[in-house]
């Protein structure tokens, strides 16, 4: 697998050199972009040869069934809950997947990015009441850990969480944690997929797991495989599933592949790469 240029890795990130809000005269040379951006961004340039090695992908979901052959080893598994005084509790998850969905997402990511690290953050299972708070706490914990990618096949409709979720997704964006979130296909307001700091994903009906399209009519930004997807499920099962929540891990895996090859990309640059490699833009090249 092609590795990033070590000289690039040693460069300091621009935000460590100066305040972020200005560029004093004569310092433009200090913000050279540590990516050799090609004249034409192709899929081969973007992720050719990458296995996702070195990229940490967090599955924020129902837990992950560790022993499933389609998932393989996962690096960490925690469960998030709230205590009696709403204090956040993050502990080792000994229950595994309570539903099957997290295992399905992990399996999809693993199938496309076989060498990425997978971390399961279970935010389901403690009851519906308080689940919005647990979701927020889980996402905050994931952002604090600095994971490279967070797969979120979930959303909330509670407006009281919108502001704080927005802040959290912006924080992730600036810290280079890429949030990939399922879009909602029902006529309700929900978050965080609608925020521009995340990558939002809807479904197309094709069977190619690497086929994805840029949507020129947002808020949904990308369409990925989400219909009749064969996935891993609890109890070692394989089942076929449909839903945006299965399209999302396809995009998360693609992000892992691109970051495996170009770890220095910011979420903005990464989105640009995804745009340029979408099938309806230039991805056929």
């Amino acid at each position: 697998m092609p590795q990033p240029d070590p000289s690039e890795e040693q460069q300091q990130a621009p935000h460590e050199l100066r305040p972020a809000w200005s560029l004093p005269a004569g310092t433009a040379d200090e913000i050279n972009i540590p990516v050799e951006w090609p004249g034409e961004v192709t899929r081969d340039w973007a992720w050719g040869g990458s296995t996702g090695k070195g990229v940490r992908v967090c599955i924020l979901d129902s837990g992950v069934d560790q022993g499933h052959p389609l998932v393989g080893e996962i690096q960490q598994s925690v469960a998030v809950s709230l205590g009696p005084d709403d204090e956040v509790i993050v502990e080792e998850d000994t229950e595994g997947d309570l539903c099957g969905h997290g295992t399905a997402c992990a399996g999809i990511v693993r199938s496309l990015a076989p060498e990425c690290e997978i971390i399961s953050v279970r935010v389901l299972g403690a009851g519906f009441t308080g689940s919005g708070g647990v979701l927020l706490a889980g996402l905050r914990w994931a952002v604090e850990q600095g994971f490279d990618v967070v797969n979120m096949s979930l959303s909330t409709t509670k407006r009281q969480f919108a502001g704080i979720l927005h802040e959290l997704t912006d924080t992730a964006y600036f810290r280079r944690t890429v949030l990939v979130a399922s879009a909602h296909n029902m006529p309700v307001e929900s978050y965080p997929w609608k925020f521009s700091s995340v990558i939002s994903v809807g479904s197309h009906e094709e069977s190619d797991p690497l086929a994805f399209y840029y949507n020129p009519d947002p808020p949904v930004e990308f369409f990925a495989r989400g219909v009749d997807v064969e996935v891993a499920w609890t109890g070692g099962a394989h089942i076929r599933c449909t839903g945006n929540s299965f399209a999302t891990p396809h995009m998360s895996a693609l992000v892992a592949l691109v970051l495996g090859k170009h770890p220095e990309l910011t979420p903005f640059q990464l989105k640009s790469v995804l745009y340029l490699t979408s099938l309806n833009v230039g991805g056929g090249r």
């Binding site: 296909n185 029902m186 609890t234 099962a237």
Partner: protein, 216 residues
């Protein structure tokens, strides 16, 4: 709550539960029929106990499952409720846990299910499930949209049912014969033409007399 308001609320809720429940059952039945499925269920979230309750069922399980409860955040229905995401699952061959909310109660393990959250404004009220629709070569996103439309309808019906129950509870707790007032209001409402006018006049006269006596 003032007596006038109580009477107005009572008039609104008497008999409504039955109507809204019928509406819910109708949504479940139409969803089952449109998809050609074996069964369709609508679950209501009981916020007090944090459980999902079988509120309407069409097809398999209709006789036995109504009113059955299970925890709100486990199984497929729980996942759909908490995440607000619809999903479709097919070809289950190895793991009956995937629909344990249904399977544990009936011994019937569906091979596939469609599930959508019932969302009304910013609230998640419950879940619509459609079990064992005929498996075609490929599921289509048009069907997913259709499921969303049914879910939307079911959510509205569920919201009406929930409001009715809350109003009934308030009335029951307030006592004071509000149920009698409600029955009277409903009876007058159901009268036609002249008899209705007469009824309203009579009630207005009673109201007048009672107020005068109250005033001394």
């Amino acid at each position: 709550m003032s007596e006038d308001l109580k009477a107005a609320v009572a008039a609104g809720v008497v008999g409504s539960e039955e109507t809204f429940r019928s509406l819910l059952e109708s949504v479940a039945e139409v969803a089952r029929a449109i998809f050609g499925a074996k069964a369709s269920s609508i679950f209501l979230l009981d916020e007090e106990t944090d459980e999902l309750v079988f509120e309407a069922i069409a097809g398999f399980g209709a006789d036995t499952l109504l009113g059955q409860r299970f925890p709100s955040s486990t199984g497929i229905a729980g996942w759909v409720l908490v995440t607000r995401q619809p999903l479709v699952i097919e070809d289950v061959t190895e793991d009956p846990r995937f629909a344990k909310d249904f399977a544990e109660e009936t011994g019937y393990v569906p091979k596939g299910l469609m599930a959508a959250p019932l969302l009304y404004e910013e609230r998640a009220l419950g879940v619509l499930e459609v079990l064992d629709r005929p498996q075609r070569s490929q599921f289509s996103l048009v069907e997913m949209d259709l499921l969303g439309l049914f879910a939307n309808q079911a959510a509205i019906a569920l919201d009406l049912l929930r409001r009715t129950r809350r109003a009934e509870a308030v009335l029951a707790a307030s006592g004071g014969g509000a149920d009698v007032v409600a029955r009277l209001a409903t009876t007058v409402e159901n009268l036609e033409d002249e008899r209705r006018e007469d009824g309203i006049k009579l009630l207005a006269a009673i109201d007048d007399v009672l107020r005068r006596e109250e005033g001394g």
